[in-house]
Each structure stands twice: as structure tokens, then as C-alpha cells.
Symmetry: none
Subunit: 402 residues, 2 copies
Amino acid sequence: MQTFIKDLIQQNTAKILLIVLDGLGGLPVNGRTELDAAKKPNLDLLAQGSACGLHIPVAQGITPGSGPGHLSLFGYDPVEWQIGRGVLEALGLGVELKKTDVAIRVNYATLENGIVKDRRAGRPPTEESRKITERLQREISKIDDVKIIFSPGMEHRFAVVFRFPEPLPGGSAAIKDTDPQKEGKTPVAVTPETPQAERVAQIAGKLISNIAEIIKNEPRANYVLLRGFAQVPDIPHFNDAYGLKPLCIAVYPMYRGLATLIGMEAPALKGDIREEIDFLKKNYHAYDFFFMHVKKIDSYGEDGNFDGKVHKIEEFDRALPDILALNPDVLIITGDHSTPSVMKSHSWHPVPVMLNSPYVLGRTSQAFTERECLKGEFGIFPTVNLMPLALANAGRLKKFGA
Amino acid sequence: MQTFIKDLIQQNTAKILLIVLDGLGGLPVNGRTELDAAKKPNLDLLAQGSACGLHIPVAQGITPGSGPGHLSLFGYDPVEWQIGRGVLEALGLGVELKKTDVAIRVNYATLENGIVKDRRAGRPPTEESRKITERLQREISKIDDVKIIFSPGMEHRFAVVFRFPEPLPGGSAAIKDTDPQKEGKTPVAVTPETPQAERVAQIAGKLISNIAEIIKNEPRANYVLLRGFAQVPDIPHFNDAYGLKPLCIAVYPMYRGLATLIGMEAPALKGDIREEIDFLKKNYHAYDFFFMHVKKIDSYGEDGNFDGKVHKIEEFDRALPDILALNPDVLIITGDHSTPSVMKSHSWHPVPVMLNSPYVLGRTSQAFTERECLKGEFGIFPTVNLMPLALANAGRLKKFGA
């Protein structure tokens, strides 16, 4: 965020609700996007009285991952604050990371005479690999002064976190993947790429030896390959940056994990949009800022299921009146990136957004669609500017300069 | 401004007229903004043939003060060139500042046994405080080698300027306010926050002692509190930056003061829009660039007087034909920030703008309103880009690169 924002923050009691419909934006099939096709009277009516626009999470043409998409929404420059693969993997498996942690993605592999025969150990069933990972945790809990945390994942995948007794200097996770990328090669030795990374490399080397000794008699998963070494970034906390007390309302661990990285409270939660709304209502009095994450719209987009994505948008539309009943001072509905079902993936397309507050122009857009948002008063703008707009509409920013 | 602009400047005889309707943009009341409600056939007709858009003075969500708002219009990055409180106060009181000056806002206060009993000395009538300030000027005109200039203000407020014999290094005004912010406390000692500020701090310390001695027997205004120490910024002059000979046409001292900071001529002027137009006509032959400031639209916005703001827009509209009769090569009509009457304050909302020249697309906008400007060929853009657009339309910018 721009440094002068912090000096302009002022306190009041206004509440900001940011609803992220994951993967919201789309592309047309027979001329109509998912948002065009969805019957969503509540969203369309709200858009008519809101400030509308389209935002660009990273840069034009750049397809954001979930990390950059969300950091931008929270007002953090996603190019400045990059979240390493290992960290995202660990967050996705539900590990609560601390700023002293280094996180690593790990594959079980099959080693034969020192040669990697199968980089994925024949993709063992998740239940089978989970048992091996749990055994590793029982036998390895510490290496030197470093706590070792194992998190089982799907099939051959799991995550390991090194919890150091104190924060490490920058560059401490600059270590090459030990995965040779091709079968028939030897594993890559643990190689620190900077002097600061030597400490982590030592622990990693010992970890690999210890694991290999424990699982050497497994028929397939008898070795491990380490990838995506990453330090937990020391991002300014949301409360320090904006003077807001934030609550994350999300079902998927990765989004809760991202939220905790910037100091949001993010209690575990099960269910779907209904449970999320109940949770929002129950906690509405106790926080200033609410990040509510709605996952399934993206999932159907990723599956290439146009109708499924449409139905999930319609489902959210039916739930919207319950949210509006809370009468938040500032309500933002948007996505973290577009996921057009025709592409079956995240995309670089700008993401529709509407912001409702008493201080908008409004009456620029007839519906909450990509093309109507293009007519809106926000125009096309960088996603990182959304938080200052939210704060301004909440009356939480002082004037800049006399 | 972007550094390469200067290399592209070329001379011709084209004249640019920038009319700033202070606080122009607004928000709807019953669906219509002040610009929607105003009957302004001349402005609407002009907009139909102009390049229209909306500009953002500082950044999305940031509400600009008058200083940043105007600097942006003149093409200066308002975050890079911040104008301190003391400087703006002195400019507002009509002091002509030089680059060797440090300016300070001052309050008369009531001191009792070394404790601040009233930070505003009981808000004395302006006439009473003016007499005290004039007496101070008679008795204090110099401290060491520094000329001291007093400027009476409203009630308990006045300004002091330290005019040094030569420019001071950066950081020379980094001195804490001596105002303790609360009654019942002792005044804060003059404290330099950098080594460079020691010279100014010494003068300030002597000034406070001298003043206290002179006014010690005043019943209420027997002490002073110093706030907002500020150096005059060494901004590149308009003529050096753009090769334009500029004239400021403004009634309020602060806007004339801002203009003089960047080297504009800014003669004192009384009256309203009619007098400003007469002054423009009289001086039209002698300058290349005219900044005409129209204040009252903002004032009614700040008062929350929707109809008053509408009437002032209509009044300007009636005067517009007289301006058009001059047939300027480039005519820009805009504001320095929005002042929606519903908010009774400056706001962060983008500001409507139209630029008329022979080189515009036009026919995008039916009227000069926020929503119609949104359809314009300029889109939503940073205010600092307006000067390059003005220069380009005046034929005063060469091609960049071969």
C-alpha cells in the first residue's frame, strides 16, 4: 500500500464487509458470460445503486494465483509481497504458520540404487501416504533446535514446516528444489543459494537422511523430494496498516491461512454460504472488517462447468438479502481473479466489483456483469486501490494535505 | 511531472486557459448531483464537443486538500511536493513567500503559572487579536539575521514567517509543535527533530520569549503556541517546466499564494467571476497560460448547500460565453477536487473535466456531469496527466522518440 495511507487513518465505528466470490469474472459462451446468464435480481439491483468497476489484481495480462489475488484485495502489492509455494501449500493443509517458519512442499518418491525411479512414488492412495506421514511426525519432532511439523496431503504430497526459535534473516529459504524434475536422475543435493540459507539447508539435509532411514523399507514411498522452500513473509498486519479489527470467514484452510498471515482472526468453519452468513451475524458486533470467502464459484469455473458456476452465483444471490439486512456501512462484492469456465482456469481478465455505501454516484450500471461494470464510476483500476476506497467510503481516511 | 516532458517542450503562440471551479464534483441527492441539477446549457454544449473525463488528484480513495489538488492540476506530483501547514496558512493570509522562508501557524493562548489554560486565548475577536499582532510586528522585525514577518489571522490565529538571508537545507523546519494539544499542560519546548532544524529552533525559541515579554500583561492572549513549521518547497517553476508564461486569476489569497510558489504571476484581485473575466480579457495578450480560480462552488458544497452550489454553477454557465469569445486554443474546465454537498467536505471522488481544442474526438458526453464525463475519451486518469494533455492540444509538445 502507499506509505502515506497509514498517516491518514482515523478511527470510527463503521463496518466494512468484503465478500470475495472466488473466480467471479468469466467469458461468454454464445455471447453470455456466467454473470450474464445467472438470474440474480438482488445483485443486479444492488449494482444499480453501487459504485461499479473492474479491477486488475497484478497487471494487465497477468493471471493471478490465489495468494496474489487476495493480497491485492487486502491492499498489499502482490509483486512486493510474494508468498512462496511452500508457504501456500502448508496454509492449504491447515498449518498455522508463524513468522519464524520455513515451509516446504514434499513429494514421496521411489528411489532405486540412488536413482529417482518415480517422482511421485506411484501416486499412493491418500490414506496410505497419510499413515507414513503420521509415522514420520511421531519419530521426528525436532532437529537441533528446530521444531519439525509434518502435514499430510493428497496422494504423494505433504508439507513440512521448520519452526525456528527466532525469525531468520531474509534469503534464508533460498534453496534449490531437490526434485531432479525427471525420472532416471539422482536427487539434487540440498544446495543453499545464499550464505543466509546455510542454516535451513543443514536442517533439510538432516531431515532427508532421517526420513530416508525411517521409510527405507516402504515398497514405493521410500524417499522424499523437497520443493518450494519458502519463508513466511513479514507482512504488515492489517490492524497496523488500517486500524481495522478484521475477521476472516472462510471454509477452505488456504484462505484462512492467507488471512492469518496478515493478522486476521480466522477461526475454523465448516459448511457453505449459509454457515458463513450465520457466522458473520454472530460475530458482527465484535469486528470492523469482514473478509467473507465464497469458494464454489471458482471450483465450477475450474471444472469448465458453466451451468454449475451460474447456479452458484444464483445461490449467492438468494443469500444476499440476509447479508444486506446487517446494513454494513461499506459492502464490497467482487472476486480475487476471474475463472472463465471456457478456460477451466484462473485468467488475467479484470474482475467485476461493486462497492455500496452512502457516498457513491451509482446509476451507471444496470446489472452486475462484466460489461455493465465497465460503465461504472470506478472504471478499470488496480486491485490494491480497493482498500483505500473502502476506507474512504467508511469515513476512515483523513484528508491528504491542507 | 515526468522528467522527459521538459525535453519535448516547443514554443508557439497557443494560449491555454485552465478554469478551476473549486470543489466541482458532487454526489446525488434523489438521484441527481449538483451538476445534474444545474441548468447550464453553455457548459453542456461545450462538453458535447470536448474531450471529457474524470481525474483523480492524489490516488483512489484519497481526499485531497487544496494544496495537493492544485499542484496536481499544474502537473506536479502532490505526494512528492507536499506543502506544509505553516506555508499554506501564510499563503492564505496573503504573505508572499520566498524560498528562504520558514512559515509557522501560531495560536494566541492563555498561560497561567506556566500552564496552558486556554489553547485559543478564549477566541478573541479578530479585531482585538489583529491589534496585538500588529504591535508584535512593530516591536519585532528581526531576530539575529532573520527577518520576522507577522500576518494577522482570524480570532486567535496568525502566521509568522522567518525570512532567512539564504535558502536553508532540507529538514530545517523539522520542529515539533509547541502546542501541547490539551489544556492543563505546559507548552512543549521548541525541539528540533534533525540537526538541520537547530537554526530555526533557536530563532523560534527567541521569538517565543520576545513575544511573551511583550504580551505578558494581556488579559487572555498572553502567550503563543507554534504549529506546523514548514519550509517553502523548492518546486520547479512553471515557466521552466513548460515554457509557458503563466497568470493566476484568483480572488482568494491562498490560491494566489499556491500559484506564486510555482512562479506564476498572481496580482491581487477583488470581486467574483465577472471581475475575474475582465481581468482575463485585459491581460489575455500578455501571457500563454491562465489559471482562473472560481471559489464559491466549493464554499456552498462545504456548507452542505446543494441549491447554492447549483446556482453558482449556473452563474458560471452564464458567464461562459464571455470566456469562449476569447477563443483560447485550449480551454479546460474542471475542479481541484470534489465537494459533494451531502458530505459538506472535500471528497475522494474523481473530478469531472472537459478539454476543448481542435484536436479532440468529442461527441461522447451529452452534458457536463459526472456520469456523462465517465463516457468521455479521457476516461478516469491521474490529475497530473492533465498538463501534458493541455500542452499536447496546444501544439506545445514535440514527438517522443523518432
